[in-house]
Subunit: 341 residues, 3 copies
């Protein structure tokens, strides 16, 4: 179970209740009254716990699991060990997420304002917000209802923040309009000037950065990620987009809805994504590109040209994924030949 | 126009005044009395606004722009739409930057010392500095005239900072001597010990890091960038050098004057750059290298050997840019062949 | 010598004393009574200083050095200039590290609690800890003896920290159990939720992150590095492991003992390392991999598959180091051919 020092558990739940919460179907409806009191990973789950199978690598662990119940795709039902109740799900990982959220709901916001918080009198901070120690909120900033601001974070002048946002510790936000239910993890930097310098014989000349950062509803931004404000246009993060840690987003970048960017991705200025783009870790994008809806880019790739909607690409520079695999195989074959083997 | 909640506009200006400010020439001297009241990008600029063309990708947008005036190179004059006044510039981006700075001057430093700032009595902080809430300045630190220190930043013992430096929120600086007009964006880390460990059977042994970080005048350092202090030599950032977000600079690295480093670049220990080196995003440099004056390294490259002055290189490992292009073409051709296509 | 504004020097020491401290042997035992009063790099060391030779690149500088004494491997003894006393060491860098630590010992912890520190009454903070200005320590957190917490850092509820830990400024720690003598540099982020989202038509669904971060004794974590807590398992950093700046460590990652990770490395979720793994800068690892004991990965590589114990690999994707070198040579030869040269 999760360490009770850090997590508070709800429940228990019947499998019937979990099926309803998670959108899954009980393989054996007669198991609906069985009770589970926690979620757990395949290897450690016991008879009173529910687990999940979502990655082919773990089918053997699934077959050997002692879990009392599991979310899994229908095609793996035959691999389930005896006595495991199955919750058949189109997306077992998503169903498990919903069940886990039922057992461990996000802690509620506790309305309070730390005495050490420094809030400008012209800022608007509803009474139901939770403002931690040493928070600094500058003049004209407007927070929505039930927002949380973590210790030592700084919210700049005239920033607007929607309802139910959760901003962690040591975050800075300026020049930003933010929707509802946005989550910023520790050390996030939003709204600093973009990197705009015109080369010159006497040294680079600074270009004023006159745009903002516009963040949609339900965006999640990882620890120490930096999102620069636009230079003339705005930098825009579409609703529901999730960004991992240590990601760099340059000025004027526009991301669509529901994109997923893994850790250490970098996107240079003025590049635009459509909706539901998925990007693996450490991928770099040069500036002024277009990346179409639903494109998928493999981890550790480099993108120097536009990517079409729906394409799956990889490599430096990126090519269609199957071409990349072939390039890798060819290079390895050539290296063997030269060796005479 | 820029959002007035975040930016304060000056002006309006005549085109004659803008030409003088920006070093541009009016294509039609009779247009000198025309007035513009803002800067704007090509797509949104209207008849009272001035824009610019600096990237070939945007020539069509330039030809279709409703802007009243534009900075552009002479060779694009024929593409300008009717009625657009032209400000001919050798470097339109630089000229636009100077015009934008005239419309939106950097806000002045407002002398004040937040009551919550904790300044050691032995630190020297001139009265004309602007010290934000919760700033911590340790003993012996010396700030220049008109410096700004943002909320929750920490300046370590005996650090020296020149005149007119602007240090944003949540920054830490230690073991550093800094010139004038240096800009540090949020989350910058300067002066922590470099990564020095001698491998050992019983676990890595820590090597004391006894150098400093020396930062020249007019340096700009991006959000969450980290610059370690030297181990025995100093880490040195030459004057006028501009560093983007999330860059890693190891101990004893020496960068020359006027270098430009894009986001997520990493430079391992003891590598030395000449002046005016330009580095694209996500480039990595191994340690103990020499990179000559004016070298240019394409984004997402890996540098394992010295780079000659004036060279333009790309790839992992880097080769001359034209060779890299050929390598890419060859790999793609081989991959097609194997496919029988 | 190190700048006395930032470093306090001990000594002087006889060569005999330094040999004992560092595990080195005097090449000429009669030199044991000679006195040195500082450490210094090869190029600047003078007759009263001790230096070291650990990198072949610097043999010429060694031969020309004016240093009074040097740590070096026996095979370089013949290259030493006249008058230089030699301290023969199996690992000269490690021996030098121990000597440098004798001259510049880590400053002691000074028991104090800044008046501006905000410590929850239910937290346990021994009197011999040094708690800087504006530190926030939440309820139930437990610090060991002689811990240092830097300005503006935030320690979350119920976190446990061992003896003699040194946590720098602007750090955040939550959901973490930490051993003794751990060093966290400025801007480190520990314990935030991992990046867990299940893709969905209506936008990604958040997966609760219910694990912790477990950090062993003697771990060192670089500036602005982020280590996410586990999702169900814990994220684990083995004892003695050293991590450089701006590294990303995903949820459920397990690192063994004595690993060394250079700057900007990224490790995706659930990947596991054995002991004494060495990773160059900017290397990326996809998720769910196994990397065996003692594996070495060259800088700027991409790891998409398991790596065997003891292997030395490089490239994107990684192959054995010699194969990678051959691949590079082949590509360069093909590019020349196409050129007709």
């Amino acid at each position: 179970m999760a360490d009770p020092r850090f997590f508070h558990r709800a429940g228990p739940f019947t499998l019937e209740a979990l099926a309803a919460i998670s959108g899954a179907q009980l393989a054996d409806p007669s198991s609906g009254a069985r009770i589970v009191d926690d979620v757990a990973p395949l290897e450690t789950a016991g008879p009173n716990e529910v687990t999940f199978l979502a990655n082919l690598k773990y089918v053997e662990a699934f077959a050997a699991s002692r879990a009392g119940a599991a979310f899994a795709a229908a095609r793996f039902a035959s691999r389930a060990p005896t006595g495991m109740a199955l919750l058949i799900a189109a997306d077992p990982y998503k169903s498990f997420a919903l069940a886990a959220e039922a057992f461990y709901p996000t802690p509620p916001v506790i309305p309070r304002r730390a005495p050490s918080a420094i809030i400008d009198p012209s800022a608007s901070v509803p009474d139901d917000c939770e403002i931690a120690a040493n928070v600094v909120i500058e003049g004209g900033a407007r927070l929505g209802r039930r927002c949380q601001i973590g210790a030592n974070s700084a919210i700049g002048a005239n920033v607007e923040i929607g309802d139910d946002c959760r901003i962690a510790a040591n975050v800075t936000v300026s020049h930003c309009l933010m929707g509802a239910r946005v989550v910023l993890h520790p050390g996030v930097r939003i709204g600093q000037p973009g990197f705009g310098f015109a080369p010159d014989r006497t040294g680079p000349v600074t270009v004023p950065q006159l745009g903002r950062v516009i963040i949609g509803d339900d965006v999640d931004i990882g620890a120490n990620t930096a999102i620069d404000r636009g230079s003339a246009h705005d930098t825009v993060i579409g609703e529901g987009t999730k960004i991992d840690n240590l990601v760099q987003i340059g000025h004027n970048v526009v991301l669509g809805r529901g994109c997923i960017l893994a850790g250490q991705v970098g996107i240079a200025g003025s590049t635009r994504f459509g909706d539901f783009v998925m990007v693996g870790g450490q991928v770099g994008f040069t500036g002024h590109l277009r990346v179409g809806d639903g494109a998928r880019i493999a981890a550790i790739s480099g993108v120097f040209r536009d990517v079409e909607a729906g394409a799956t690409v990889g490599g430096i520079p990126v090519v269609p994924l199957t071409t990349w695999m072939r390039q890798i195989a060819i290079l390895q074959r050539l290296a063997r030949k030269k060796d005479g083997s």
